[in-house]
Symmetry: C2
Subunit: 455 residues, 2 copies
C-alpha cells in the first residue's frame, strides 16, 4: 500500500491534468444538445478506467450509457466493493453568474472551479485514480472491485434501477462505496448516516383561455396567480411545520443518541447563515439547523411563474400560473404517499373555478445508514490516516435515491464518503473542489480498499 501511495504522490500532476480534461466535457444529461458530450464523457471515463487495470464496458441504457469496470483479482473468496458515481453534471445556467467558464477548469486559491468538479466527476475520478495507484506496477488489492458510473444521476437516474436489476449478479457486492457528498467541514472528514428523499411536483393552474386586461376583467374572473399563491401559502403553518394532513405520520422519531451526536458536532448556525449571506435562519421550530437539514422533512417552492415579469408595469390578469414544489423526505416517508396526501390537500384548498393540474417529476426514498461497525471502522481508519483527523458521522440534506435501491436490490450496505466541502455550489454557479482533497482523498481511498479487505 505504501507503494501505491507513493505512486499517487508522484503522479499527482498528471492525475490533476486528466481530471481537468474530464471536467472540460460538458456532460449535461438534462439537455439533449449535450447528448454527444455526455456520451463522450462516458467513453473518456471508460478509456481512462481501463488504463487503471480494470476490464471496462460501456453498456447502453435507453438514454445515457453506464460505464462498468471490474477487477476481480482478489479471488472469489475475497470481499467485493462496488464503487458508484456519475459522470453527468447539472446544467450550468445561469452562465452569467460564473466567475470563470463552467467547462474550462480554473484553479483559484487551491480550488478547481468547474461544473462537476465536486458533483460528481471530481469524486468518481478520485476512485479511478486511487485504483490506478493501487493496481499499478503489478500490485493487487485484497478486495474485488466493481465500478459503476452512470450518466443520468442529475435527471433522476431513470435507467439505473432496471440496470441494477438486470446486472444484479455482476454487481453483487459486500459494500457500496459512494463519494458524491461533502465533508462536514474543512479539516473534518465525515461518513454519512442519512440522506433525505425527494418528491418533486409541478402545479399548473388555469382560469381563462388567454391573458386578460386586469381592468376589464379583474375582480370577476379568477386569478390563477393569486390562487396558486394561496395554495402554496397553505403548505406551511406559521411556525414552519408542513400543514398537509398526515404528512408527519411516517416521519421517524430519531433516537436520542443520533440527536446527541448531531448536537455535539462543531457547528455554528450563524456562520452557516453568513456563509450564504442569508438574511436569517428559518424552518420548523423546535429543531436545530442541522436537524432541520438532516432529519426533518421540508416543502420548498423551487419555481413560480405567472403573468408579466419583465420591466415596468403591465396590467394583465394572467390566464395561467405554474409552480415547482418539492418535498425533502426523511425515513420512513415515501414519495407515493406524499403525492396522495398532496392530492388530498389540493382538493381541499384549491380555490373554486381554478383548474389545477398536478405533475410529478422524479423522486427518491430517504435513507438511514445500515452500515455495520466493521465497515464503518475501516472507513474511519482510512480517513483518519489520510486527513489526520477521526471522521464524524453526519447527515445530508440532499438526496441520492440510488443508495436505497442498492440496498434493496443487491442487499449491500452503503458507505458514503464524500470529499467536497460545504458551500461547494454543487447545483449552482462557481462549483468548486479543493485540490488538496483531490490528493488526500485518493490516498484515503487507496487505504479504504485495503482496510475493507482486512479480515
Amino acid at each position: 500500500m505504501g507503494d501505491a501511495l507513493k505512486y499517487a504522490t508522484r503522479e499527482r500532476a498528471r492525475f490533476q491534468s486528466e481530471l481537468f480534461d474530464f471536467l472540460r466535457i460538458p456532460s449535461v444529461s438534462a439537455k439533449s444538445e449535450h447528448d454527444v458530450d455526455t456520451r463522450r464523457a462516458a467513453t473518456w471515463l471508460a478509456e481512462n478506467l481501463s488504463r487503471s487495470g480494470l476490464d471496462v464496458e460501456v453498456l447502453e441504457t435507453p438514454k445515457h450509457p453506464v460505464v462498468l469496470g471490474e477487477w476481480r483479482g482478489a479471488g472469489a473468496d475475497a470481499p467485493t466493493v462496488l464503487i458508484y458515481g456519475h459522470y453527468d453534471v447539472q446544467p450550468a445556467d445561469p452562465l452569467g453568474e460564473w466567475s470563470s467558464p463552467p467547462f474550462d477548469p480554473e484553479v483559484r486559491d487551491g480550488k478547481v472551479f468547474a461544473r462537476g468538479s465536486a458533483d460528481d466527476k471530481g469524486q468518481i475520478f478520485m476512485h479511478v485514480k486511487a485504483l490506478e495507484a493501487a493496481l499499478a506496477d503489478g500490485r493487487i488489492l485484497p478486495v474485488n472491485i466493481v465500478v459503476l458510473a452512470e450518466g443520468e444521476e442529475e435527471i433522476g437516474s431513470p435507467s439505473l434501477v432496471p440496470f441494477v436489476e438486470k446486472y444484479k449478479q455482476r454487481l453483487a457486492a459486500d459494500v457500496v462505496v459512494i463519494s458524491d457528498s461533502a465533508m462536514f467541514q474543512e479539516g473534518l472528514p465525515s461518513l454519512l448516516f442519512s440522506l433525505r428523499g425527494l418528491a418533486y411536483f409541478e402545479l399548473k393552474a388555469r382560469a381563462a383561455k388567454t391573458d386578460l386586461h386586469s381592468g376589464a376583467y379583474g375582480g370577476a374572473i379568477p386569478n390563477p396567480g393569486t390562487a396558486l399563491a394561496r395554495i402554496i401559502a397553505s403548505f406551511h403553518e406559521a411556525d414552519g411545520r408542513i400543514a398537509i394532513k398526515g404528512f408527519y405520520d411516517d416521519v421517524l422519531e430519531w433516537d436520542d443518541q443520533t440527536r446527541a451526536q448531531i448536537s455535539n458536532l462543531p457547528f455554528d448556525e450563524d456562520d452557516f447563515r453568513r456563509n450564504v449571506e442569508a438574511t436569517a435562519l428559518a424552518g420548523e421550530s423546535g429543531w436545530s439547523v442541522l436537524e432541520r437539514l438532516w432529519i426533518r422533512p421540508t416543502c420548498e417552492v423551487n419555481g413560480f411563474l405567472t403573468g408579466y415579469t419583465g420591466e415596468g408595469a403591465k396590467t394583465v390578469l394572467p390566464a395561467r400560473a405554474m409552480a415547482k414544489v418539492s418535498f425533502r423526505l426523511v425515513p420512513d416517508q415515501r414519495p407515493e404517499r406524499v403525492r396522495k396526501l398532496l392530492q388530498a390537500h389540493l382538493a381541499e384548498v384549491t380555490p373554486p373555478g381554478i383548474e389545477l393540474e398536478l405533475l410529478e417529476h422524479h423522486g427518491g426514498l430517504p435513507w438511514k445508514s445500515d452500515v455495520g461497525g466493521r465497515l464503518l471502522e475501516a472507513a474511519a481508519t482510512a480517513l483518519e490516516e489520510a486527513f489526520g483527523t477521526r471522521p464524524v458521522l453526519a447527515g445530508e440534506g440532499g438526496s441520492i435515491p440510488i443508495v436505497v435501491e442498492f440496498e434493496r436490490i443487491l442487499g449491500s450496505p452503503a458507505l458514503l464518503v464524500g470529499f467536497a466541502l460545504p458551500g461547494a455550489n454543487m447545483h449552482a454557479p462557481d462549483e468548486w473542489f479543493p485540490l488538496e482533497h483531490f490528493e488526500k482523498g485518493i490516498g484515503a481511498l487507496v487505504r479504504l480498499y485495503g482496510e475493507l479487505g482486512k479480515k
Copy 2:
C-alpha cells in the same frame, strides 16, 4: 351637417386606408427601440390632422411628443370641445399569439386586427376624420375644437399633467371628449359614468446571496418564493374581500339609482364568462359581475417569478422572488393612501428573515362622471342617430387617469364615448376594431360636435 355626413360616406375607403397606414407604425411607447416609430406616429398624425383643417403643432415633452391641433372658427363666444386621445400603443408581446402580424392590419369578418386598432389609434383617428368631414368644402362647426393626442398613455402619461398645467389657457374647454373605451355591447352604444383608478406595485423579496441547493439548505434558510406567496395570499379573505386593513374606508357606497341602472343592463354573466373561456366567475361576494368590475376595487397579481421555471425539475432554493401586484380603485380611493395601507400590511405579514422591497409603478385616480344633463343629452342624441339605439350609461373597469386630471386642472367635465366592443383584446394579442363602428362612429362624432354647439 348632412353634407359632412355625405362626405364621410363618400370618403370612407380613403379614411380606412389612412387608418391602416397609421396602424402600421409600431408606436410602442414602452420600448425605447420603438422611440423612432413613436415619434413618426406623432408627425404622421399631425400631418393628417392639419389636412383636416386644424392648426397643428408637435410639442416636445421629456419623452414622447404631444400632437396639439386647434380650430377656433366658431368664435370666442362659442363653446370649446377638447378631444383627447393617444397615438401610442401597448407592446404586442406575446407575438406568437397573434393570428396576423400586429402592425400589419388585416380585415377578417368585418373587423380590423392590429395593435392600436381599438386602443386608441383607431378611435382618435375617427375624431380626425370626423373633423375633416365637418370642415371640408368650407364648412364650419358651431364649436371650437382642440385636439390633444399624447404618446405616453400606455406608460402612465408621465408628461401629460405638466403639459396640461403648462398649456392650461390653450386647452381651456367646456367639455373634454374621449374615445378610448368600448360600447357596452354590440348594437348598444354607451356613455361612461365611471372609471376605476390604479395603484401598481412591485414586490421584491430576498433571503440569500445566490440560489442554493434545496437539499443542502432547504428547511433552514428562508424561501423568498414561499414567503412572497404567503404575502400575496394575505391580500384577500376567503370570500374575495381585500384583507388590507382600512382598504375599504374610502370606498364610495354608490347610490341605489346607479346600482339599479347597472342591474337593468342587458348582461348575461355566463356569456361574459364563456366569451373568455373562463372556468368560473370569481370575486367579492355580495356584488354582481358588473358591480365587481365597475364600482368595487380589486387586488390582482399581474406577475410572479421565482427560481427555476423551465422544463423538468431543478432542486433549487431561490434567493429571490418578485411579484407585480396592482389594485383597481374606485371613488374615493387614492393611490397614495393605498400605498400607505399596503406598507403597513406588509410590515405585519412579511415572514421573519425576508428582505422585502416595495416599488411603485404608475397609478391613477378613479373617476365618477360629473357631466351635466345637457352634455349627456347631446351625446345621447348623436349616438342614437348614428347607431339607431339610445345609449346606456355604463361603468368601466379600466383606468384613464388623465380624465380626473382634466377635470381638476381645466375644470372641464369629461364625456367618455367609446366605440370598441367588449373583448377587443385591448392589451392582448389579436386586438381588433369593427369597421362598421369606424364608419358609424365618424358619423356620430360629426353629429356630436354639432349637438354640443346647440344653445
